[in-house]
């Protein structure tokens, strides 16, 4: 028995097995208790919601691997959504230059965040809070608080649950998400930059002594996080339209997806595959709760309790007396 548990522990450390089991169990429960849960239309819309959540949680995942916490995600989501709506909708820019400008702004602000945190050894929490306010506030100030534009129409087809990708029967945003997940998975585990990321997260001083340019790692990580959030903002502008509270749900939901997936806040543990599963689990949970007809208040309560139950299976720390 204990040998079996030990083997399971080893497997679990290498791959998110229990997360996958939780995902499947939830799906079976949902399919059994809610009619239409396993229909292709409902699966498609769940996948789109999970893709948006998962993409928004990508930045948080890599920031948490280097041992930080990014609170600027809602700020950049709002910035991306507002900028794309205003530039394309009101100022009639073509989509590509608007995209390039937004990406450049987000990456520059993100890199600045990483530089400030690493150079002055300030906790990312407070810097990202400030930068997030700068990003969303700057866009609001630029528009004077009046959101007149709307996102280009093709963005809506990108996130439409009934969309197709090159003739294949999945929504484009889901295809994008799958591609991103594979690329990030390979980069994190099979390339030198990925190793540098984990080394920096495990012990910045040791990484520095091993000739890892930790400052560059921090700048790249925060730039990527800001970039992802801004791109999600652009997608959301097509999905639901831009407004200034658009990003708020994605901070805590995204953080939950990352942690339910099994990446820890202490750094250097977990990867994006875990977050993908986390985002899928959360979306299933929400859909099941909505399907059973719970109101917003009950949803929040049950959501909180269920996450505790799900995470109990795999996300707990070791006993302190076993770590000495």
């Amino acid at each position: 028995m204990s040998a079996a548990v030990a083997t399971m522990g080893r497997v679990q450390r290498r791959a998110p097995v229990l997360q996958f089991v939780a995902l499947v169990a939830l799906f079976i429960y949902g399919a059994g208790t809610i009619s239409g849960f396993s229909d292709s239309t409902s699966i498609r819309s769940m996948l789109v919601l999970a893709a948006l959540l998962g993409l928004a949680a990508l930045g948080q995942t890599i920031v948490m691997i280097v041992g930080g916490l990014d609170l600027s995600i809602p700020g950049f989501i709002v910035a991306g959504a507002i900028l794309v709506s205003q530039l394309c909708g009101t100022h009639h820019w073509a989509f590509v230059p608007a995209l390039a400008l937004i990406a450049a702004i987000a990456a520059a602000m993100g890199a600045a965040t990483g530089w400030i945190c690493q150079r002055f050894r300030i906790q990312p929490l407070i810097v990202t809070l400030g930068v997030g306010a700068l990003a969303s506030g700057g866009c609001l100030a630029w528009t004077g608080g009046k959101l007149t534009g709307s996102a280009p129409a093709f963005l809506s087809t990108l996130t439409s649950p009934t969309g197709t990708t090159f003739g294949i029967d999945v929504s484009p945003v889901v295809a994008i998400w799958a591609l991103v997940a594979i690329v990030v998975g390979v980069v994190l585990h099979r390339t030198i930059p990925g190793r540098r990321l984990y080394a920096t997260g495990a012990n910045p001083r040791a990484a520095q002594l091993a000739l890892v340019n930790t400052r560059r790692v921090w700048m790249v990580v925060f730039a990527l996080s800001a970039l992802c959030s801004a791109l999600v903002g652009i997608l959301l502008a097509g999905f639901s339209g831009a407004d200034q509270t658009l990003g708020d749900p994605y901070l805590f939901q995204g953080l939950t997806a990352v942690i339910v997936g099994g990446t820890t806040i202490m750094g250097a543990r977990g990867d994006y595959t875990h977050t993908v599963l986390g985002a899928l689990i959360l979306t299933e949970l929400t859909t099941i709760l909505v399907g059973h007809g719970y109101g917003t208040a009950d949803q929040q309560i049950i959501f909180g309790v269920l996450i505790l139950i799900v995470v109990a299976g795999y996300g707990r720390d070791r006993r302190l007396r076993d770590t000495i």
């Binding site: 609170l71 400030i116 002055f120 050894r121 300030i122 906790q123 929490l125 407070i126 810097v127 809070l129 400030g130 930068v131 997030g132 306010a133 700068l134 990003a135 969303s136 506030g137 700057g138 609001l140 100030a141 528009t143 004077g144 608080g145 001083r205 708020d248 805590f252 953080l255 939950t256 942690i259 339910v260 820890t264 806040i265 202490m266 917003t296 208040a297 009950d298 949803q299 929040q300 309560i301 049950i302 959501f303 909180g304 309790v305 996450i307 505790l308 995470v311 109990a312 996300g315 707990r316 720390d317 070791r318 006993r319 302190l320 007396r321 770590t323 000495i324």
Partner: protein, 321 residues
């Protein structure tokens, strides 16, 4: 100045507060008028106390971070307005101990999740955060005013000649000061500094952490009372805001998120600096759309300047930080 900042991590928040206080008084001379102090302190109190409430769990280390203090403060506000006032618990002598007990119970719940069930603090308190927000929406679905003349109105104004909000701010500070005379204070910093060493030295790490979260819960309950005193109504919708601003106050006040360094005074000063930033913005008539730009800019600039001031720390100390 540098020596002071090096030995006192909250020195920077103090400096920033003094500068901003001066700026506020220059921008709006009425700000310094003692007759306005009760109102100003009352609007500052909830933020300050929530910041203080997030501090003990962070100090207890191990990635400790209590995200649920903001919703907990709101929860106490909602319970006061929707449950206590309409159902005859009008007197403060009965309501205050009950509210503090609720806060402590939820704090203990967090502490048990973290130290006995070994959840990561962020996920445990995030779940409590969701549960409390749900409860707030359930109980306080429609905002309701508190009955006029209830016992909290004095705390929002003056008790005799004394600003009432100062009492709600001073109670957590006094509890903390009393604790700092006890062994618990040292145990908390020991656990936060290095849990393995503390464990090996015979400190009951689990109990120390549970007490830290319970303290946070009690302080959050006091923040709920201060909030009720200020707004005189239930505020179920604003559950999520306080947590983040309070965390910024904690970080600004020199408490290290890794645990073991910092203190309650720093958090209160950090929150004070943030509050003064906000009042300064409205005093100099910054258009509302520019508010969050200036706020974000001041926050970033503030911490960078603070870090520059202490940048010449000896290398060994920097490694510790």
């Amino acid at each position: 100045v540098r020596d002071l900042l090096r030995t006192r991590p909250f020195g920077f928040a103090l400096l920033l507060s003094v500068v901003l206080l001066a700026a506020n008084i220059i921008a709006a001379p009425s700000f310094g008028n003692p007759s306005n102090w009760p109102q100003e302190l009352a609007s500052f109190a909830p933020l300050a106390i929530v910041a203080m409430a997030s501090t003990p769990s962070i100090l207890s280390g191990g990635g400790g971070l209590d995200l649920s203090v903001g919703p907990l403060a709101i929860f106490c506000n909602v319970v006061l307005v929707h449950k206590f006032f309409p159902h005859g618990l009008g007197s403060g002598w009965a309501a205050v101990p009950l509210i503090l007990l609720i806060g402590a119970a939820i704090g203990v719940f967090n502490g048990l999740l973290v130290s006995v069930l070994r959840y990561q603090p962020v996920i445990a308190t995030l779940c409590t955060f969701f549960i409390l927000i749900g409860l707030n929406l359930k109980f306080g679905a429609s905002p309701r005013p508190a009955p006029p003349g209830n016992w909290t109105t004095d705390l929002g104004d003056k008790v005799w000649f004394f600003p009432g909000a100062l009492i709600t701010i001073l109670v957590p500070a006094a509890i903390w000061l009393l604790l700092s005379r006890t062994a618990y204070h040292r145990q908390l910093y020991a656990v936060g500094g290095n849990q393995s060493t503390a464990f090996s030295a015979g400190v009951d790490v689990a109990a120390t952490r549970i007490v830290a979260y319970a303290l946070g819960g009690v302080f959050a309950a006091i923040a709920g009372i201060a909030l009720t005193a200020l707004v005189q109504s239930s505020q179920a919708a604003s559950s999520a805001q306080y947590t983040l601003i309070a965390l910024a106050g904690v970080a600004l006040g020199g408490t290290v998120l890794g645990g073991g360094r910092g203190g309650l005074l720093g958090s209160a000063l950090g929150a004070f600096a943030i509050y003064l930033m906000q009042t300064f913005l409205s005093a100099v008539n910054v258009p509302p759309t520019w508010n969050s730009v200036v706020y974000g800019g001041m926050l970033v600039a503030g911490v960078v300047v603070g870090a520059r001031l202490v940048a010449l720390r000896p290398l060994g100390r920097r490694a510790l930080a």
